[in-house]
Symmetry: C2
Subunit: 321 residues, 2 copies
């Protein structure tokens, strides 16, 4: 019997505000549950309650393995005694939580964990906007900024997992002069600051006194705020192109839902490149190069890249690929 045909997997996208849990094998065979992230104890209990029926001896479709795509930072070193821990996250209560271990012990099946953005990259590669590509990046612009890269078909795990959100970008001269950025590590006090500190949802909230989704067209800072956001996103995306030379970049996360933002970013990246890379020397080429994620639930609009990527992680671990 084909080893794959009988297999069903669990997937978790563990986010700072929402957890998405799913069982299934692909976007066409997927049962999804989403709930708010609260304390680790309560949240992990909710996760276990959801998956428990799928690991019982009686169920006809017992889970083979489970993947987790999680917010971080994470300890992903397989030799580490703290493999699968969320480490020094600023999220209250979640520091040093043994996320993978607790779930593994409770469910009694193999569990694998990676970053949320690496998960999303895998999901998009398998079924979404990066099908057939060997070298690409998935970026998320939400509360924070993070990136997951696949190079020559493999996830990037180097010294630590690269987060990409902390590159230094120049401050635009029309930014608020007194705004120092939101990053606890990298204050913007010399004409530049880190990407996350200048362009994340948190930084928009701190700079303008309201979260990005409330900065509306009626607002007097609307144009300045969103133009600035597009400028900052474009510079970081441009730097990624120069360093990684990906075949495509997928831009996900809540902020990217803002109307026209993607198009503005595409225009600004075109300007920054200034025909330096011949295969990206027109707006049309850049439009099909900087794209949205494809894995979104049609009815609920819930993004599924991460949780589907978690299922890919589980599948690959089980099959040793």
């Amino acid at each position: 019997m084909n080893k794959t045909s009988a297999c069903i997997y669990g997937g978790i996208e563990a986010g700072g505000t929402k957890f998405i849990c799913a069982v299934g094998t692909s976007p066409k065979d997927l049962l999804v549950k989403r709930f708010a992230t609260s304390t680790p104890k309560k949240t992990i209990n909710e996760v276990i309650t959801f998956f428990k029926p799928y690991v019982s001896e009686e169920t006809p479709r017992r889970l083979t393995a489970l993947g987790i795509a999680s917010f971080g930072p994470l300890d992903l070193s397989k030799e580490s005694p703290r493999y699968g821990y969320i480490t020094n996250t600023p999220k209250p209560g979640w520091k040093n939580v043994n996320l993978a271990g607790i779930i593994k012990d409770a469910l009694g099946i193999p569990v694998i964990i990676d970053t949320d953005v690496n998960g999303a990259a895998l999901g998009e590669q398998e079924w979404g906007a990066a099908q057939g590509l060997q070298t690409f990046v998935y970026l998320t612009f939400g509360t924070g900024i993070g990136g997951g890269g696949i190079i020559n078909g493999e996830l990037m795990h180097g010294l630590v997992h690269p987060e990409m959100g902390h590159i230094q970008i120049p401050r635009e001269n029309y930014d608020k002069p007194d705004f120092k950025g939101s990053c606890e590590f990298h204050q913007c006090d010399q004409g530049y600051g880190c990407w996350e500190g200048l362009a994340s949802g948190i930084s928009m909230q701190q700079r303008w006194g309201k979260p990005p989704e409330e900065i509306l067209v009626s607002d007097k800072v609307y144009e300045r705020a969103w133009n600035l956001e597009a400028d900052y996103i474009a510079i970081g995306v441009y730097d990624l192109i120069c360093i990684l030379s990906p075949q495509r970049i997928i831009l996900g996360g809540g902020i990217m839902n803002h109307p026209n933002l993607l198009e503005e970013v595409q225009k600004k990246v075109e300007k920054l490149l200034n025909k330096y890379i011949p295969v990206l020397d027109s707006f049309d080429k850049i439009r099909s190069y900087l794209v949205r994620p494809a894995l979104i639930d049609a009815k609920s609009s819930i993004p599924l890249s991460g949780v589907l990527g978690a299922i890919v992680l589980a599948k690959r671990m089980y099959h040793g690929t």
Copy 2:
């Protein structure tokens, strides 16, 4: 008989100012010749003259294959009819030169080509400062700025070969206000410019009116010039750390021979990181993380990373690895 033992390889580091040709198998078994780069015709003739005796039927140690690590940009797409060409280089006379093809036809042995920095990275991985590492970067700071990355053991070849030298970095406020950078694609007119445009040897020459090796301690701009250079190099290196999370970065090229420059860069990168990455939270850790190339001829001080990497390219092609 072991396929390797009888094999000898040719290697070329093709640089904008010098060509280094070698035959051998490793740093301990290497015959090297270096000469100035002139016109393509003259230079390539000199290359062929050097290698010709090693491909004759009579020689007891006939070359098995030849690798080239070349300045670029290059066409490295194996499907392209122009594979192995130097494409739109600004170097006079060298645009659209079929470097790999002409040498292959003249010598009648298999020839493989990659970028100079990818070559240097391979050489350092095999015998130098990156032995045993799977994910690292080799950077060169000379006439231009370029980088070669190995991720999960493999060279980076994505959309195009990444050059890394054109990331946008912020202009320091103590730079010369009227200096627009030296890059033809990326003018520095908005408080930032590209790395190569602000920190390459050419940019130093344009900014200060003399090449870097002539900006001496007796010079009144000495401190400003070299402090600026260290600041710019540090920001770019920092960005590479955030995006690629390499296990080590090797800093080569003529500019890095300036006394104390590497140490200044290490200090500034430490400050930029600001303990954001725990495994790089002290100067000592950064000192063994940002290092010089190890492959340098002891007598002549000629850097051999590139030409030895070219030999690695030839060896791997021949053995299909």
